[in-house]
Symmetry: C2
DNA sequence: ATTGTTGCAAATATTTTGCATTGTG
DNA sequence: CACAATGCAAAATATTTGCAACAAT
């Protein structure tokens, strides 16, 4: 396997992911990193995001909006997609890891894990729509 | 809203989805429908798949393999993705609808539902890998 | 010096869309 | 006859990749 070398672009991308709470798309990462490295290219952003995912330092999230989102928090947690404002949020909730056992009962393969995406209205959109 | 007219292409696509167990991609639907309608175009397939989804007669499934898969069975059920053979399967398992309540506890928005994708090794790949 | 990484641009690949034509109601 | 649906091709969109230059070890 190839060795890994430091790059300031990659470090900046990793730090941005860790600091961001919005689960940014590659495009959004690109626009933010450009403020630090005006010459960075979108290809480099994609390469580094994929690198981070493959090295367990970021998660790929797919909420069906046509963009892949990235999450710098790799600890297991669940996500929520607001179908009104299209925001992708972290959910602070009790563990549902037990659903793996439910899925495994009567299944002859191996359930290694799952990804869940809850959807509905986020707190802000709920309030907004109440007033209409 | 525009009225809906019958088309034999759409009916064939719907029937194919209902008969198929493999959660086909648009391309696979296209190749199969071409055996009945050799002149059908991929655009028509996409338009009809989207039509069916928007009219509650099919589901869009995203398992992260870069293709959207379609499911003619609209009753709530869960899916499994084998990361070895890349197959997308239905899971016959007990309901896990209660996770909506777990997600809603302490959440100020509205949880309307969820999509889950379990992943791991399908029965066949499990056996295959055992022998290596 | 070696080779991983970048920036740029071109290429991929999937899905959508414009438009003239065909088909349904 | 009105207009929804089709077939075809072109366009749009997101992501990947080839390559020469640059930078880390």
């Amino acid at each position: 396997m190839p060795s890994i070398r430091y790059s300031k672009q990659r470090e900046a991308i990793k730090n941005y992911l860790l600091s961001s709470k919005v689960h940014p798309t590659a495009e959004i990462v690109y626009e933010n990193i450009k403020e630090i490295f005006p010459n960075i290219s979108l290809g480099t952003v994609y390469r580094n995001l994929n690198f981070l995912v493959e090295h367990g330092q970021a998660l790929r999230l797919d909420c069906g909006d046509g963009f892949i989102h990235f999450d710098g928090c790799t600890m297991p947690h669940n996500h929520f997609f607001c179908h009104n404002c299209k925001m992708l949020l972290d959910l602070d909730m009790d563990s549902i890891e037990h659903i793996n056992k439910i899925a495994n009962a009567g299944f002859n393969g191996i359930i290694e894990g799952h990804t869940v995406l809850f959807y509905g209205l986020c707190p802000e959109c709920k309030e907004l729509l109440k007033k209409i």
